[in-house]
Symmetry: C2
Subunit: 405 residues, 2 copies
């Protein structure tokens, strides 16, 4: 992609009300645009980051045999009323709207009820189970405050996966597979070493659920962890019984803030029972389906990764997430001509700053935008048939032969 | 993909309130699931069809230098109030909702106002123009009635493209390029020979706009066309002046119903003026930006294609749109084993009906689901080292050597 051909420019300033670092940097670097607090547009580079994150998640879930679908945002109240969750007292972040032909609708904040209802059309026998269905879908949550950039959205992109089983053992088996898949996903996204599976409140049907928490100064959660981080728990479950369960002592635990990037939950009969998602077992008896649900905040992840790696110069993307791997600059007549030649045929890997600007301005933008490597081809480097390759994260620069690039 | 591994089953019956052929067939064949009138979920095969349509549109638009973004559904009233379009009298299909922190929001039925507002951050000089931005985005329209399956959605997927220019000539130039791109898109989608550029009402700023109408018995529009279909016009502009303009006589025009699958519109200053989208020209004077907008109904297209080609046995997908090219059935011990071998390594092209059912049931499902070709490998075909290849559209069957498949 050529810088001269995109409508996006880097901006000197973020909107005045943008107090979050991720929001301010992503706006200045041209990845997102703020519509209102908690509601953002994704510009071409930002959409590429989102798609890269989705691709990694999709690949890992497909390996488990999960199937992708896309459900609606508009929600019929009926299945939600059966579980009591259409009530604003029960779920206090609903956006609701009215149908011209009469009746109230909700905008989905999550999809347990409608997926349970949908699957009633397809599940009747034990032979239909287990099954695993997920989607990348826009969720709506009517947050009273939304000041964390894309870390907490009123409209945001989420991956939600639902699993159905005939037994608790099979739910446990798949739950463990998802735990491993999540670890691979966060590893591939570049935040494996700062993201930890965390014990959290399990609700009525399970003692614990698990969150995946990325340690982050601006994270909204408080978690406790032991020395080797083999045990991490959310503040909400920090009590004597839980510490005894997990074999840790209060004095061995440290506190930190973290951002929840994923969660996994054994729902068991929580939705299948009130909504009547049943199957006929081998003995011809009607049984209730066991369910699990597994979320990942896709747009939040983009914000977490931005916050986590940014330095005083701007964004720093891991290679797997970056919209382009290389930021290319030509200096001087020969440098520019050689850069043009080098760019040709490599348009999907290289973001080519072909603007008629001074090198210093291009360097500043390359640092703000945070692509993993900068390639500079100048008359000087060409005397050695080489280019200067700079690692955005480490700042290391070295000459590399053009033929080796 | 293996039939045994997807949670979806074909259904004997569509929901009782599903009166539209596209809705009923797509539901029975396992492509969509109805949430409520005008609101559908896309199941794995349906999502593949949607993605195939998006890919074709994306490829053709990217060739024109268009850039993809993704805007929000939640809409701040402010820019809409400047054009008068937040009013329910002016735009009568708004879904509106309330923010917990106070204030009314809309759910975007289209995006002219927010894109114009957004681009004010990026356009200041004639050097920034022209520019072309598009998205695939979920639109919400509060239709009083929605009985046409996915032909008219309350929630639906649309591609909307916006172009910005410094002159009417440049707008005209790009408009003509989009006309050609749309022709290529509909051609590639398999409906090129029944989809026509149609004169429609232009609104205040242009005498005509153009729609792309697919002739279809259940289409909601009425259009008139001459013998060689070189002139097609919407009923809404059928008057003496227009016929004189287009050089046609009433007695030479035939009437038919059609479904609008795309529209293109010279907006000129309609949104840029009230919203203040200006630029500085070569002489340092402030000028208003010329705009065009160009829509394609992505989920509607899926419905139109389903309606257009379906026969009494079920769906018939064009190759470019089909979720898989081949439907594979093995019959008999050797046939099944050979089918398994043949399937291996071709998982993305072949939908393999590996269920433990009678061949007749598999054949019926293959016809209902409408993949372009059915491959049957049986003990009988294997005596000639061949498979039976059936064209879904023509019904033609021939033996083909396995090595040639």
């Amino acid at each position: 992609m050529r810088f001269s051909k995109t409508f996006v420019k880097t901006l000197r300033e973020a909107p005045k009300d943008e107090t979050a670092k991720n929001g301010a940097l992503l706006t200045r670097a041209g990845y997102i645009h703020k519509e209102m607090a908690g509601v953002y547009d994704f510009l071409p580079l930002g959409l590429k980051v989102i798609e890269n994150i989705k691709t990694i998640i999709r690949e890992e879930l497909n390996k488990l045999g999960c199937e992708e679908i896309l459900m609606s945002s508009l929600q019929n109240p009926e299945p939600w009323e059966k579980t009591g969750r259409f009530s604003d007292q029960e779920v206090d972040i609903w956006f609701k709207t009215e149908l011209a032909s009469g009746g109230v609708l909700g905008l989905a904040p999550t999809h347990e009820e409608p997926i349970t209802e949908l699957l009633k059309s397809y599940v009747s026998s034990y032979r239909d189970l287990p099954l695993y269905v997920y989607q990348f879908q826009t969720k709506f949550r009517n947050e009273l405050r939304a000041k964390s950039g894309i870390l907490r959205g009123r409209e945001f992109l989420m991956k939600d996966l639902y699993s159905l089983h005939t037994s608790e053992e099979d739910l446990d088996r798949f739950y463990a597979e998802v735990e491993k898949a999540y670890e691979r996903i966060f590893e591939r996204l570049g935040i494996g070493d700062c993201t930890f599976e965390t014990f959290a409140s399990g609700g009525i049907f399970a003692k614990y659920s698990h969150e995946f928490q990325t340690f982050l100064p601006v994270g909204e959660d408080t978690v406790y962890y032991n020395a080797d981080k083999s045990v991490v728990l959310n503040k909400e479950v920090l009590d004597e019984e839980v510490m005894a369960d997990l074999g840790v002592k209060r004095e061995d635990l440290q506190e930190t803030t973290a951002a929840e990037v994923g969660n996994i939950f054994k729902l068991k009969f929580k939705y299948s029972e009130p909504l009547g998602l049943n199957y006929i077992d081998e003995e011809n008896a009607q049984k209730t389906v066991y369910m699990g649900c597994y979320g990942i905040g896709v747009s939040r992840l983009m914000g977490v990764i931005a916050e986590k790696f940014a330095d005083e110069k701007g964004l720093v993307w891991p290679e797997t997430v970056a919209p382009f791997k290389y930021y290319l600059v030509g200096i001087g007549e020969n440098g520019i001509r050689t850069a043009e030649e080098f760019y040709t045929g490599r348009e999907t890997e290289i973001f080519f700053d072909d603007r008629n600007l001074r090198p210093g301005e291009k360097f500043a933008d390359s640092e703000l935008m945070g692509l993993p490597y900068r390639i500079v081809i100048s008359d000087k480097t060409l005397t050695e048939d080489a280019a200067e390759l700079t690692n955005r994260q480490t700042g290391e620069t070295r000459l590399i032969k053009l033929t080796e690039l």
